[in-house]
């Protein structure tokens, strides 16, 4: 099945404040990729749905960063955006990792 577009491909800089820090850091800190790829501020980014079911939910589960060199860096989001956990210190806390969404007009 083909993926469905969720959010249009745009310069990452345009939606920078929406992007979770870990999306950025995963590229910035990866010493195994090219120097240009470690600067996501210069990339384009788009969001996709992997299936009809995910499109029906309206929450993207695929994010693709397109580097200026042509390489792509894909993030496949599997887990839940919200969770109640207990820290190693025994503190109950709510964790939130919302998926970014944009609609540039």
């Amino acid at each position: 099945m083909a993926h469905h577009s969720a959010c249009p491909r745009v310069p990452a800089a345009k939606v920078w404040r929406l992007l979770p820090a870990k999306y950025i850091e995963a590229l910035e800190h990866n010493q195994q990729i090219s120097s240009c790829c470690r600067h996501p501020e210069n990339h384009d980014v788009e969001a996709l749905y992997s299936s009809d079911e995910d499109r029906a939910k309206g929450v993207p589960d695929i994010y693709v960063f397109h580097c200026t060199c042509g390489r792509r860096h894909t993030r496949f989001c599997l887990g839940s955006s919200e969770a109640d956990i207990v820290t190693p210190d025994g503190v109950a806390m709510h964790v939130s990792e919302p998926r970014p969404f944009w609609d540039i007009r």
């Binding site: 590229l27 990729i33 589960d61 496949f76 599997l78 887990g79 207990v86």
Partner: protein, 140 residues
């Protein structure tokens, strides 16, 4: 989020204490495959057709650094995102399959898989990150 599809045998392995689902005792790994999983007949890692090792992909996949905690009557499972970085062509693959790397009898029982929706091949220098979000699953 992509659908969490469990293998039929997983719940039996959990009930039989083959898989220690709580805490960090057992090591859960995620591997890649391009062959559609069969939840009824696949029970261990050897049943699944894993991607060939090489070009940055290690046989058996990567440790998810899984953990879980309990709040009330619900166990919440967490994991650390895994990034596969290609040093040559990697793939094609379509499925991320999770298994327990700790048990030896049976070895490597399967837990679940996620379907990326279409096959993908990584070129040199490209990455594929499996993002487990705030939680992987809940039990209870």
């Amino acid at each position: 989020m992509a659908t969490y599809v469990k293998y039929n045998s997983a719940i039996e392995h959990i009930a039989n204490k083959v898989i220690d689902f709580f805490g960090t005792t057992d090591t859960f790994k995620v591997m890649l495959s391009n062959t559609a999983p069969n939840v009824a007949t696949h029970a261990v890692r050897a049943d699944a057709a894993e991607l060939s090792a090489g070009n940055g992909y290690t046989s058996g996949g990567e440790d998810t650094q899984n953990d879980s905690t309990r709040t009330g009557g619900t166990i919440t499972e967490t994991a650390v995102d895994v990034t596969f970085t290609a040093s040559g062509s990697v793939g094609p693959f379509r499925y991320a399959i999770r298994y327990d790397d700790t048990p030896t009898s049976p070895a490597d029982p399967l837990l679940n898989y996620w379907d990326y929706g279409s096959s993908i091949t990584l070129a040199t220098g490209e990455t594929f990150t499996v993002d487990f979000g705030a939680s992987v699953s809940t039990l209870g």
